[in-house]
Structures are given as structure tokens and as C-alpha cells.
Point group: C2
Chain length 630, copies 2
């Protein structure tokens, strides 16, 4: 008997309407664990290099882990992965909520979708049964209507639905997958891949629970979490304000991305703060499966826009990308733009950064009112923000250009626009200032999915006072490293934390609940895995799972033609911040180049960033070397 | 308050009779842990490259770990380290008994000796006090008389004494350090270094115990061990027969080094078996501090030789090196030769292999009776074995040549003798057949101390049936690897186990009690460290301690001029075994070269085997790179 996993991976070929099941054993689950690891196993084994991300041959993978669905805080998540249509690299995004656990309860650990349906369909997975159903009635509908439509059709309000919106249908390159209208597998265009397959949604319902080897230990761990989580200031803040709690402290530090990363602080930041949102628009908050933090806010607005509380509220990432990054401090406009993202199924980060890009082009005369359809697209214009968000979702006018992402949009627009395109490998940079958090900046450059905020730990700048150092000692980080440092000790810290968060994306655990900065300690994660599965895993084995997945993702990208030249940051990060407490701060290209070279070596890759055969063999995936050689 | 360690390292400069103490903190002890790690820290920081191993500038380091002296089975050991006079590499050897715990009880974690006393002295360390005392009366004396002399002079029979014998005084290059006449820091000539400093002994006595953070957890672990150790067949065998239990099974497998590694089995192996020793000569057995295995045998012989039971009995290594490797199956002769090694303070492995070398030279006419002083030095001559052992100890006649070790002896003898010199980097090969246990063979080649049997785990040939695979899963070895395999999966297994056993030599724990093949499981070792120290270490942090120490040792050797060309095995291993069940088995040079290249890559070293700067930085010892650059 297997504990923690079903051992069943559902395979659906939409072209031929074929359904099958892969069965896997303990060795597979220990080596890949789930999420990112599981997805890369299949992508490297089955996807041919050069596959069109929006063609039928791309694989779209929904994957949970051996922890997903355990009654433990922070283990509710799942990954969606495919070759990304935004970047051409390995693409992956995670989301919380209840969908991942529900898939496990329905009898499957993952769903792998191939092919393209002849007409719009959705999948209905319930207690081991699988149906491919007609989605004609809900195609083109915003996510709320689609969700209601499916639940009505199937006659069960407890069905959990991961779906795309009209943006994904229209192949907006950063179309997302969204579940319960508010939990987004946001980044890299997984929704566009789903749209390209004519797949509107995956509805799941399961009535069994996962088998747990040591229920008493799991209960004891969950109890410990509940007794301790509010002692962590960050998590206590999440409990009361959600992620927008970070707006004001970051603004004060001078590290709140503002006006397309030109500045590090914005006047009137209070207007888009977590505190203001809570005081003025907040009508409730929800939790992911089994979690007590309940960091998901719900807001409602009646005028001048109507914002439906069904769509939740923006996270910090949305507040900053649609707010400060666009120079906007009108909270209602930000909240409305975020609602459009959730209703139409678009990544709020890429949306915000694409609009900020357009705004800076507009301010510099590269775009004019002729291009914008008479919209005065200056930084700070909240009405313009809302309008352009909708135009992107519908691929109307300038929105059709911005729907390609800033890299491709800059090429289309020309006139030097690329200097305002804040992306790495085509993916828009999230709301963490790489000039301050130099480790995150390094992560943007080398992340296998392009610039991303959950592909690595945020910089332990919080360590300035050594505050979290005790949480890092279990992986051998014994002394604090300064935030602005970019020397070898920072690269080491980054590399170890990248292993750790790559594991996090294999285990699909939540970084708001987990060390180093948060509640679960690093050794406790191993305890959680062992209590659920009955294994005797260790932090060594788990860190190697993370390193393995990062290196497999790197191999995927190498095979797709990416080279060390793609591991670089936008020029702006090498220019000084123009406003805020960090005014004048910039990265040194020389130091950056050295850091990247040191990173390659610490990863056991060659000097051009290609994983060596021996390294792949050390990571127990020698077969990947064969994939690279072909 | 520190738990597990005193935080005090005693420094003694014998030239100036200066005594001082280094105080160190938790970060130091977590990074280096003790034993090998601690020794390498000082050797790399303070020893100039090119230092004469037998000159006053060599450092001689006696080091315990944070576990030594805890009431836990298998934690009684300590390391002695210096630049080796046998190899010119980093030199290190470990021993059990009671001396290591007693040093901790006396208030010090390590003793670092420099300089050379003007006349023979010994150190007397008792409850924090240190004296340099005259050793005139005991210099030149066998170890038993010296031990009695010191105990008498100081008036305390419970004093623990680590000392050299006349062989160390005469700078036999494989002179050892021995405590309680039967526990040897055997390999690499640490006794010769001690002799070169005119230091006869270190006598220690302490009345305090180490502070333990969680005594209840330590007690529970010790109880668990006692309830489980006899379930392990190997350990049960150690309990009844000691290490000589391995003679018959290895002979049956065809992997008992015989006649200078020409053959893999010997007729009449029963004569030197553990069973025979137990039946005929056994008069008792003893245990190391806090251990229930009690694997140390005691034998007594009255005729034709007198063997004093005070000197214990040969281990498997001694039985095979002085026995089968010399073609000798006369147990009494083997036991007598071993007693001479303990009384005169010589490594029984190097002694046996040196004599086997001389025997093969004799059989091939390279040495004659003129050279041997009329001794008929044929394989199998037990009387000759005893005589030549004594000649080496006294540096008489041919013994004076063999006292240099086989590498240098072969150069002196000439006539093609080097083809019979079974060594790596000048250190004689121990009693494990590298053609069968290919991982051990690889370990001989790349071990930083030259061919050694406790620098890496013995090959998991026992894994042939997958029997121990569950013990290896915690470090991510999920599937068995065959003994004769030398492909990448074997190199990976070896590399991980080398980290693990390098950690073992930092923690100074006993491989007879510890996983993978034995009782303590890998995660339990982390539990032991945490229960004793109060840390929250993990197997990741501990494996990295091991890897760090291996790489520091590599850096030491690189700095001394060693290159990849020194990482090779004697030609004989590439020739077929001539007798036994493995007759015809040999290593392939091509496969071996590939394995070594893969090993370098898995270690993060460059293609010539030099640790990269980034790797050293990843291991948190960037300062070692500066030492390499100079």
C-alpha cells in the first residue's frame, strides 16, 4: 500500500479522446516527489525539442505531490507545467486553493494532457472516473460564469474547477489557469497552452482522502503549526492583511517596484497598502485546504467600478504590478484591473508589467494616442490601467500587442522600446527589486522559467540582523549575508535556497508557511514527508530532489537552444534607482557576471551553463544526458 | 553554554615548551565538527607547503568531535592527523578505545603539537592542567612497559595513554599511535611524526563528563541500539568473533587478499579464521567507551611464541595482511607478528604488505638470502614473518629498507621490484580487494590519504541482493548497484558514501556500528548530534561537512604537488586474480579512467582533479582557495 500518493497519473490525449493511466512506484515518487519534478520527467521524456508551445504536441501537466492533500498547513498546492508560449523555456506555475487536494481525493496524482480537442471541452474527473465533456456553452465566458455553468451541469456545488478564461482562449501569452476564481497558476502562459488545446477546464471531485502512514504525527505537526504560526511576524501579517502587507515596508525600504522599475518608492503608497485595502474594501478572507493562515483576501467595490467579491482580491504581486509599477495608487482601479485578470484568466504580474512598459513607451513618445486608441497612457492613470487590462484580455488594439508580453511587444513596437521591456527570457519581472535583493535578481537571470518569484527564495535580506539565521543553519548557512552583497557567499546562499525552493515546487508547498522566513522549519518538512509517506527521507535527499529538478529544467532549456547569453537581466537593473530610499543603487555587470559564473560552477554545470553528464548522473538522472546529446 | 564540546583546543609547542589554548564557537564546530575537519582547518591554515613531515614544523593533531565521549555506542573514536611521512599527503588515522573520551573529560577537544622537544617527553593532561614531562625512562621501551611506567610515575591506573613504540621513535614510516596497547591510529605514519618530535606519549585523565543537551534522548538512542544491534548479522558476528569473522566469507568470495594480492583465496584459510582464533587462543574481549559490541578480541599464546594478552589480538586487517597476504595460515605466527606491531607501535597493514612485497621479491629472485640475512622469505613462512616484523620494528637489515614502506623500498631494491609494491601514493593497500569491491578500489585511488580502508565505506557489494538498500535511501540511493560495476551509478554511490564516511572521520564515529551496513541509521546520526549538542542539524548539513573535509584534504594534497597522475592503482589490479572464486577478474583501465573523471566532476573539481574556487566557496571554505593560489 502506498501512503501519500495514489501512484496513478492520468493521461488524456484530446486529439484522439484517449484516456489511460500511468502507474508508478515508490522509487519514482522519491526521485521526483511531484510537481516540478514529475512534470520535468515527462516533458524531458516525451516532448520533442522545438515543439510549438501552442501546438497540439505540447504536454500540459497538472501535478500534485506526495504531500498534497495531507491535513497540513501549506501543502494544498499543485503545479501546472508545459513548454511555455511566453518564453519557449520550461514553463511552470503553482497555485493553492482546494483543486490539488481534490484531484488527489479523486484518485490521481497528476493529469497529463496532450493533443487538441476538435471543439472546446472540459475534463470531469470524479472518484477515479474521467470524462471529456463538451464546453461549448461555457467557452468565451468569464471564469465565474464558466464555473457556475459546470457546477450546474454536473449538479454538485463542491466540484473544484481549474480553468482558463477568455484570455487563455485567445492565447494571450500570459493567460493563466485559475481555480475558484482566485487562485492562479499565474506565470508563463499555462492558460494559453490550455486554450490552444481547446480545453476550458478540469473539474474534479473526490470523496476519499489520502492514506497517511502516521496520522498521529501529522496531527501533532498541524497542532504545532497552529500554536506557533502567529509568532512569525510575516505570517501574522498575512493572517490579518494578506500579502499586500508588504507594500508599505517595501516602499519604506525603497524597494517597491515603481513606474516600470525606474523608481523604488511611490508617493501615496498608503493608497494601495494592505492596511487601506483591509479598512476600506475588505469583505472577508479565505484559506487554502487545511490552512489556518487564511491569507486570501476578498474585496468588494461598488463604484466607480463594480468589483465582484467572488474574484477575491489582488495579492501583493498584483497590487504592485498593477499599482506602483504603473504609478497607480488608486486602489479601486488596481482592484478592478485585478478582477479583470481573474475573470479573463491573465497573469496579473505580466499584465501589470506589460502596461507599465506601454506607459513608459507612451511617456517617451514611442507610443502615442494613435497607438493607444486615444488613451492617455501616462504612469498613474488608473482609468487607463483598467481599460488597457481589458483590451489585453480581449486582444483589442494595443492590447493585442501587449498580449504577446513585453519582449515580443517591444519588437513589434520598435523605436527603442526594448529598453523599457522588463523581462528575463520573455517573462515579465515580478515585484521584487533585484538591485536590493541581489539573490532574487540572480534568480531572475538563471531561473529556468524566466524571471519568477516562486522559483527561488526571496532574498534573505531579512537576515540583515541575522534574524532568520537559525532557520538556515540546518542547511549549513551559518552566518548572515547582506542583502546588497553579490559575492560568493551570496551565490552559495542563493544556490542552496534555490535547491530548497525547487523542492518546494516539487512538493508543491507554500512559501508563506515554510522556512527559512516563515513557520515550518526545514527539518520539519522532512518530518512531514515521512509522517505522510512512511519514508525515512532526509533534508539531503530532499535538497537533492530540488537540485535535480532545477538541473532537469536547465537541460530542458539547453535542448530548446537557450544559452548562457539568455541568463541576463534588463539593462535597467544596471542603472541606478531614481527614487526612494535606495536611490542610486544599481548592480555591477562585472559582479553579476562573476556571480553567474560561480553559480554555474556551484551547480556542477560547465562554464557555459550546460549540466555535465557526470552531474546528471550524480543527480540520478543520467538518462537526461542522453536527451541532451540527441 | 556549549553542549557536546569544550570549545577548547590545546596548543603545545614542544620546541619552546609553550602551552596555549584556542577557544572556538558553535559556528566553528558546526562547520568542521571535529576529527578530520578540525585537523584540516589547522593544517591548511598553519602548515607551509613543502614542510618536512618529520621536521619540527609539521603539526601533529589529536582531535575528537562533538560526539566523542557521549554515552552512545560507536562515538568513542578520535583522529590523529599530520602531513604524512609515508605519503607526503594529508595523513590521518582514527582509533577507538577510551583515550578520545578521556581527553574530552579532561577539558579539551583536541591537542595540536608543534616543534620538537630537546629530549624525549610525554604530555600529561588532567582536568584542564597540562604538563610536559620527561620521558627518558620510557623512551625505547615497548608500549606495555611505557604505559606501566607512566601510570606508576603518576600514581593513577586509570590514566589513558596514547603513545608510540620503538618503531615510531626510529621513524619507521608507518609507525603508529596506539592507546591501551591495542587501539591503533594505524595508518600513514602518525607515530613517526610523533617520534620525530621526541614525544613518547600523551597521558590523559578527566573527571568531568561532557555536557549533553538532551540526556533523555541520548539514553533512548543508546537503549534502541542495545535492543537492535544483534539483529544485524555483521554486528552480531563482531560481538562473537570480532573483525576476523570476515576471513572465511571473503575467502569463499575469492576476495581475501592473498600472496601480495596475486590471489583472492588461500588454502587452509580456516587456520587464520575468526572461528579458529576464538576456539583456540581467545581469552577475553573488550569494548570501546560506551559500546556494547565489544568487538576487540584478546588472545594469549604460550608456545612456540609467547604472546602477551595485554596486546589484544589482530583485527581482520592484521590477520589478512600478516596472514593470507603473506601466504601464512599459521595463526600463532600471525598473532605474534601482530603483538610485535602493537608492542613496537607499527601499522599492521603496512607491515604485512611490506613483508608480502619482500616475499614476492624473494620468490622472484629480486631479493636473495644475502639480502634477507639468510631468512627463507617465501610466501607462507610464519617464522620468517615474525622475524622480519621484528627487524622492521628495530630497523635491522632488510627491515630498515622495509621500514620505509613498499614504494620507497622498491626504489631502493630496484630490479623491477616496483611491480610488487602494492600501494597508492606510498601507502600500502589494506585488505579489501579492489577488483571485487570496485568502489573501494576507486576509493584507494582517490583517497586523500592514499590507499585506506576507513576513508570510504566498503563497497556495498552486500547490496547485490538489495539487502541494505533501505539504509541508503535516506541519502537518495534508491536502487542497488552491483559490486563489479564501475559505471556512473557506482561512482555516484561511492561519492555519496565518501561524503558520509568523511563525515564519519570528522565525527569520529565507528563504521562497525553505523549505516549503511550496520546498526545506526543515517538519520539517527543527525539525531545523535542534535541530542548531544542541541543543534538542529540535518543529514544535508552533515553530508556537506564530509564533502567539505574531503575537498579540503584534496586541496592540501594539491598544494603539496599531487596531481591526477597520483590517483591510480598498482598495475596488479588491472591484471587477473590468479586464484579463488574470482579468478580471472580484473579492472579495466579505460573504465577506471572514466570513473575517476566522473568522480572529479561529481565532486565539483576541475578535469585535473583540482577543487574549483566556486566549489570551495559552496562548501563555505572560500579561504582554502586562497591557500591554493599561493
Amino acid at each position: 500500500m502506498a501512503y501519500g500518493y495514489n501512484g496513478k497519473i492520468l493521461r488524456v490525449d484530446l486529439s484522439g479522446e484517449e484516456i489511460s493511466v500511468d502507474e508508478s512506484n515508490e522509487i519514482f515518487y522519491r526521485r521526483y516527489v511531484g510537481g516540478r519534478g514529475l512534470a520535468l520527467y515527462y516533458l524531458l521524456k516525451e516532448l520533442k525539442p522545438g515543439t510549438d508551445p501552442l501546438g497540439p504536441d505540447n504536454l500540459l501537466i497538472f501535478a500534485t505531490s506526495v504531500l498534497t492533500g495531507a491535513p497540513l498547513q501549506g501543502t494544498s498546492r499543485f503545479s501546472v507545467a508545459a513548454k511555455s508560449p511566453l518564453t519557449g523555456t520550461y514553463g511552470e506555475a503553482e497555485a493553492g486553493g482546494h483543486w490539488g487536494p481534490e484531484l488527489k481525493f479523486a484518485g490521481y496524482d497528476a493529469v497529463i494532457i496532450k493533443g487538441k480537442a476538435k471543439k472546446p471541452v472540459y475534463l470531469w474527473i470524479h472518484d477515479g472516473e474521467v470524462e471529456i465533456r463538451d464546453a461549448g456553452k461555457i467557452w468565451g465566458k468569464p471564469t465565474k460564469e464558466a464555473q457556475e455553468g459546470i457546477r450546474e451541469e454536473l449538479g454538485d456545488n463542491r466540484i473544484r474547477i481549474a480553468q482558463i478564461g477568455p484570455a487563455g482562449e485567445k492565447l494571450v501569452r500570459y493567460g493563466c489557469v485559475i481555480n475558484e476564481l482566485r487562485h492562479a497558476n499565474g506565470r508563463g502562459g499555462m492558460g494559453a497552452v490550455m486554450g490552444s488545446k481547446n480545453l476550458k477546464a478540469i473539474a474534479v471531485r473526490g470523496t476519499k482522502r489520502i492514506d497517511i502512514k502516521e496520522p498521529d504525527k501529522v496531527r501533532a505537526l498541524a497542532k504545532w503549526f497552529n500554536e506557533n504560526y502567529l509568532k512569525n511576524a510575516d505570517v501574522s501579517g498575512l493572517h490579518s492583511l494578506g500579502t499586500p502587507q508588504f507594500v508599505l515596508p517595501l516602499n519604506a525600504s525603497g524597494a517597491l517596484p515603481t513606474r516600470n522599475f525606474r523608481d523604488g518608492a511611490i508617493e501615496g503608497a498608503e493608497g494601495i497598502s494592505g492596511e487601506r485595502m483591509k479598512e476600506t474594501l475588505h469583505v472577508g478572507q479565505t484559506a487554502c485546504y487545511a490552512c489556518s493562515v487564511a491569507c486570501k483576501m476578498t474585496v468588494k467595490v461598488d463604484e466607480p467600478f463594480k468589483v465582484d467579491p467572488a474574484y477575491g482580491a489582488p495579492e501583493y504581486e498584483g497590487v504592485a504590478s498593477l499599482g506602483s509599477c504603473c504609478g497607480v495608487t488608486d486602489l479601486k482601479a488596481v482592484v478592478k484591473a485585478n478582477e479583470i485578470c481573474n475573470a479573463y484568466g491573465m497573469d496579473s504580474i505580466s499584465t501589470g508589467v506589460s502596461i507599465a512598459f506601454a506607459m513608459e513607451c507612451f511617456e517617451n513618445g514611442i507610443l502615442t494616442e494613435k497607438d493607444t486608441g486615444r488613451i492617455d497612457l501616462r504612469f498613474g492613470n488608473g482609468d487607463a490601467l483598467v481599460k488597457v487590462t481589458e483590451m489585453i484580455a480581449k486582444r483589442e488594439g494595443l492590447g493585442d500587442v501587449l498580449a504577446e508580453g513585453v519582449k515580443w511587444a517591444a519588437e513589434r513596437i520598435g523605436g527603442g522600446a526594448e529598453r523599457f521591456a522588463m523581462h528575463v527570457k520573455g517573462k515579465e519581472i515580478p515585484m521584487h527589486e533585484g538591485r536590493w535583493k541581489t539573490g532574487v535578481g540572480l534568480g531572475y537571470a538563471v531561473s529556468p522559467t524566466g524571471a519568477d518569484h516562486v522559483q527561488m527564495e526571496h532574498d534573505p535580506c531579512f537576515e540583515e540582523e541575522g534574524f532568520f539565521i537559525d532557520q538556515l543553519k540546518p542547511i549549513g548557512i551559518l552566518e548572515p549575508v547582506k542583502s546588497l552583497d553579490l559575492g560568493p557567499r551570496k551565490v552559495r546562499l542563493f544556490t542552496y535556497l534555490q535547491h530548497w525552493w525547487s523542492l518546494g515546487n516539487c512538493l508543491d508547498i507554500c512559501l508563506f508557511t515554510t522556512a527559512p522566513a516563515r513557520v515550518w522549519k526545514i527539518p520539519q518538512v522532512a518530518e512531514m514527508v515521512n509522517a505522510v509517506t512512511g519514508w525515512d527521507t532526509t533534508v539531503w535527499e530532499l535538497m537533492k530532489v530540488g537540485e535535480r529538478a532545477t538541473t532537469m529544467a536547465r537541460a530542458f532549456n539547453v535542448r530548446e537552444g537557450f544559452t548562457m547569453r539568455d541568463d541576463w537581466l534588463p539593462e535597467r537593473f544596471f542603472q541606478p534607482l531614481e527614487a526612494g530610499a535606495l536611490k542610486g543603487t544599481k548592480l555591477s555587470k562585472e559582479a553579476y557576471g562573476q556571480a553567474i559564473a560561480a553559480y554555474y560552477q556551484m551547480m556542477g554545470w560547465d562554464e557555459t551553463g550546460v549540466p555535465t553528464k557526470a552531474k546528471l548522473e550524480e543527480l540520478d538522472v543520467g538518462w537526461v544526458a542522453d536527451k541532451l546529446e540527441k
